[in-house]
């Protein structure tokens, strides 16, 4: 793990990169990284994020600045800008059931090729997907999903990069922290090693590549 400034971190992300961003309706999102993506005008992004948040908040900022070309998400109904950009074909949107979304990312992070889920069988979601029967029950084969970068927000990060999360801001962050080539983290609090007890670490230090240092 290396501590870097937010400018340095975002400079590593090329335009057109694929990024996973933690958070659920803007809660638990690394806002400083999103602000800097906007400032550095990183356009053409492939965004993997649960939702599109709302304008001005979380990943919503990326739609405000029209930086997203492709989006994989579970629900974008609360961001009218993202909806407009989708309906105007400015962004290609892949809508995925939330449980499938997180399992695909987990599979990507855990070296699995995919999972069999009952979710989506007999619906539009099943179109074009392999169906597999196990013990007489039908499942969809949903394949692993990864990104070049994961942007993760934690409550606590220690000097080594161990992470802990607060309340409902955990959501997709720990799963995404396993599923990208490069993991960049912002934390509410950077604390000495040992402040997070071993049993309370959620993301072990070796998973973190860069921690955004305090200003």
């Amino acid at each position: 793990m290396r501590a870097v400034s937010v400018e340095e971190a975002v400079a590593m992300i090329p335009a057109g990169a694929s990024i996973m961003v933690g958070g659920f309706m803007g809660v638990g999102t690394p806002e400083r990284l999103l602000d800097e993506l906007v400032r550095q005008k990183k356009s053409g992004l492939t965004l993997i994020s649960n939702d599109a948040a709302t304008p001005g908040k979380g990943v919503g900022k990326l739609f405000d600045a029209a930086l997203v070309s492709r989006l994989s998400a579970t629900h974008i109904g609360l961001n009218p800008k993202a909806q407009q950009q989708m309906l105007a074909n400015q962004i290609a949107v892949d809508l995925i059931p939330q449980g499938t979304f997180v399992e695909r990312i987990r599979a990507g992070g855990c070296g699995l090729g995919g999972v069999l889920t009952p979710t989506g069988v007999g619906t539009l979601v099943a179109e074009g997907k392999q169906q597999i029967e196990v013990d007489g029950k039908t499942f969809l084969l949903e394949t692993a999903m990864r990104a070049q970068f994961a942007l993760v927000h934690a409550f606590l990060a220690d000097y080594l990069g161990n992470l802990a999360y607060a309340l409902t801001s955990r959501n997709f962050n720990p799963v995404m922290a396993m599923a990208a080539d490069t993991v960049i983290v912002t934390a509410e609090n950077i604390v000495p090693v040992g402040v997070i007890a071993p049993d309370h670490v959620v993301t072990p230090a070796p998973l973190v590549d860069y921690l955004i240092s305090n200003g």
Binding site: V27, Q98, V102, T119, L167, V175
Partner: protein
Amino acid sequence: MDPQIIIARRVAKELKSGDLVNLGIGIPTLVANYVPSDLKVFFQSENGLIGTGPIPEQGMAHPTLTDAGGRPISALPGASTFDSAMSFGLIRGGHVDVTVLGGLQVDAHGQLANWMIPGKMVPGMGGAMDLVSGAKRVIVAMQHAAKGKSKIVAKCNLPLTSSRPVSLVVTDMAVIGFPGGKATLQETAPGVTVAEVLAVTEAELAIPDSVPEMKL
């Protein structure tokens, strides 16, 4: 009584002590208001919490404690938090005893459409498909008709949420179950007759000999 309150109060009767319950947005959210205080029900918010409590008092909201709509909530003693993989492991794995969801259409076989109106409303399914596929019991809480049109249809023409039929539909006019895979009128709302229900129901309904009135 307000139609939404009829629905919420009737759905609340379906919950048992110890149940893990997931409430969708809209009418389902109201159900929590009508659970008797001696009933120990665990409410899950799929963004990563079991033990959701009421909206916090003024000035007490925390930015990282919200429901799946991003609104501030509180947590009850004994609450637990977890990541989204665990949250949907609970949902898809059958650990959620009851989910209460809104609906656009439910058909004669109990199939539900509630996530999309092609060309008009394409917000994404969020957690709905997993909830309907995985929860032990799926209860749809919705108005019986919208703009005079029955939401209990012969066959859904909107995209399905799941091929798995729901367990129960509670509307402002009726309770409909699906014994043997067939929509069956189980109760009517206070002051509503069986004939009135049939008049605004597109789906064919089986009518048992006795159709009691909802107890609220």
